[in-house]
Amino acid sequence: MLPKTADIVIIGGGINGTSLAYYLAKKGIKNIVILEKNFVCSGATGRCGAGIRQQWGTPENTSLAMEAVKLFETLSEELDWDIEYEQCGYLIPAFTDEFADQFSKNVRMQKKLGLDVSYLTPQEAKDIVPDLCVDNVRAATYCSTDGGGNPLLTTYAYAHRAKELGVKIHTKTEVTDITVSGGNITSVVTDKGTISTPMIFNAAGGHSQEIAAMVDIDLPINSYRHQILVTEPVEHFFDPMIISFDYNIYFRQVKHGSILMGCSDTSEKPGYDTTSTLDFIKDITTRSIKIMPKLKKLNVLRQWAGLYNVTPDAMPIIGDVADVGGYFQAVGFSGHGYMLGPKVATLMAELIADGKRDEIIDRLSLERFKSGNITVDSSVC
């Protein structure tokens, strides 16, 4: 049975929703309700590429990710749950001079923020990943504290611990409307009933713009299909996640032994379609083999698709808004909600529970798009 009232209703049972619920509950907030229209981790989190990196193109994304890594380093311990977090590194080769130049600038910015990152020659890159084909590689960047985790385990762990702290999670419950009175949130209407609440948190991932529209907030966000495949498992033969912005692809051998690879199709139109396509499988296998020819021997086991919730500058939109009291959000992660979500959740919990506003919240607020003066992070694929 859906409760009649709540102190806060969190919309979305992915990494953002469950981690916020956990951190809020830890701060002593009672009557927290998570509404999930499908099941926990059924959306973008459970379908993502599972990487956690700090090598970004903007200071905002970089410093946020560095904070996120600090959090991930102790997260298995904090949640008492092995989330398969590993710092296997990220290797980013540049196949054109343009990217080589861009990476050199990025590394300077990242180092300034204190990140331990190196700018490598092709041979140095090959020393890290011997199976990498460096014939056309101009340079590469490498950060050994980048890595990845298991998004499903992480989300289940947060959800489980949140429940232990009294959070109520209602799955198969779809939000159909949100009512506002006198400029403040008053209730959330679902297909299973209505909950009176003074606060909501939009953590709806690929569908965040639909939730925002219910309170007349127009998010500058589009959702795009993002496809991923996974191969048969084999003994470990390379450590880092490899990303190429030239080939628009990333891949990593996960703990289980499978290679997980994904890419965004730049011709993809905005929408909510998550069916798998044949073109993707043909395209990504061709491209990945150019970077690592040995991959051609592997069989593909599965493919799937999820939604990237993309903002104009590829950085998330977080915090509260001026016009609607009690509305909070962490949306538009542009494909990086798993790696940034938990850190953002701690900041949002401080804002909601303690009224403490970290300066990054203002820098990543919805307001930034009003000036029209934005810097786009191009380190996205």
Binding site: T275, S276, T277, L278, I281, V300, Q303
Partner: protein, 366 residues
């Protein structure tokens, strides 16, 4: 992309798939038949027992003889067979299909009509050491002994007294294996009485309300411990019995293999009576995706006889859509098969299936 000269793709060359091919080829329709195994026939090639029913259901014919009879019905010129090949994906909206041919080379095709006849796979049950070598599914036991002529073990414990458990026990005796005990968790034998009385006559002890607690051994099975169950399916302490066996055969039910249908976007429905989650289909065997049909155990675990009829129905309905046979002739044949199916399901063992079909018909995704 290969431009295809085939009209229809049939996935799976078991009873349902072969019957679909027979009907399609009779109407002059060109078929590509893909099967993962090295020989056609599916589970039929392992069935040494004679089938029941009436003549149209191959009564009195041994399962192993049916694939040849069915292949005689198929015009060789109209059918291309890829054996040892796997269909790895069906992509909407154009039904593009990836085939891993000979487990070596990927081919891409496209079909307007596809029949999924991929059968079912064996269930597993929980007990200690259930991963030891020497614990086989009933299908694997049949494959070893009836297809490749190998005695799967000297002393066997059979778990499950449904029809498959009973029939395989009898086949094991024929192959020269001793079935030391047959246990069944339910309070009574689930399969046909004729099968049960045959193996009881042969001296196999049958224990109902009994399950397996543990397999004994480190490298392979050396024994098993069974335990009695009370009326609430709880283990009764003190009733453990150790039995010396080198093989354990699990005959504990089947689950439909329908992943390809899900990949193709077919809507699913949960119907316990038909084996759990299955793709929804209408009485023409067509799924919620236009042009994709499903037949046999893949859309509800039943029997080879009904799988064959469902295969024929799928083939005939495609022939009707393709207008390769007059509508009248098609409808007559379809009606004959529907009546035949009703007859098969009319006995007491068909009640569960009929209830499942009723639930299926209560839902529509068209």
């Amino acid at each position: 992309m290969k431009t295809d000269s085939f009209d229809v793709l049939v996935i799976g060359g078991g009873p349902a798939g072969l019957c679909a091919c027979a009907e399609l080829s009779r109407c002059g329709i060109k078929v590509l038949l893909v099967d993962e195994g090295p020989v056609l026939g599916g589970q039929l090639v392992k069935q040494t027992h004679k089938f029941f029913g009436s003549r149209e259901h191959y009564a009195g014919v041994r399962g192993i003889e049916i694939p040849d009879k069915l292949q005689e019905e198929i015009d060789e010129k109209l059918i291309t067979v890829y054996s040892s090949s796997t269909v790895v994906g069906i992509y909407p909206p154009n039904n593009n299909v990836l085939i891993y041919r000979d487990q070596k080379k990927v081919e891409e095709h496209s079909f307007k009509y596809i029949i999924i006849a991929t059968g079912a796979s064996e269930n597993m049950i929980l007990f200690e050491n259930n991963d030891l070598p020497g614990i086989y599914g009933a299908g694997a036991v049949q494959t070893l002994m009836n297809q490749y002529g190998i005695i799967p073990g000297k002393n066997m414990l059979m778990v499950g007294a449904g029809n498959i458990g009973l029939i395989v026990s009898y086949q094991l005796l024929q192959a020269g294996c001793r079935v030391k005990k047959l246990i069944e968790a339910a309070p009574s034998i689930g399969g046909y009485l004729v099968h049960a009385s045959k193996i009881i006559r042969m001296g196999i002890p049958v224990q109902t309300s009994t399950t397996i607690l543990k397999a004994i051994g480190t490298e392979k099975v050396e024994g098993a411990i069974t335990v009695k169950l009370d009326e609430n399916w709880n283990q009764i302490e003190g009733t453990e019995e150790e039995i010396e066996v080198d093989t354990i055969c699990l005959s504990v039910g089947l689950a439909p293999s329908y992943k390809l249908a899900v990949h193709a976007g077919c809507k699913q429905i949960f119907i316990r009576e038909l084996g759990g989650m299955i793709p929804w289909r209408n009485s023409s065997q067509e799924t919620s995706v236009n042009g994709i049909y499903i037949a046999g155990d893949a859309c509800g675990v039943e029997e080879a006889s009904s799988a064959m009829i469902e295969g024929r129905l799928a083939g005939l309905n495609i022939a009707k859509c393709m207008k390769r046979l007059s509508e009248k002739a098609c409808n007559e044949k379809i009606d004959d098969n529907l009546i035949s199916l009703d007859k098969l399901r009319s006995g007491p063992f068909g009640e569960r299936i009929v209830e499942g079909i009723r639930k299926l018909e209560g839902k529509s995704y068209e």
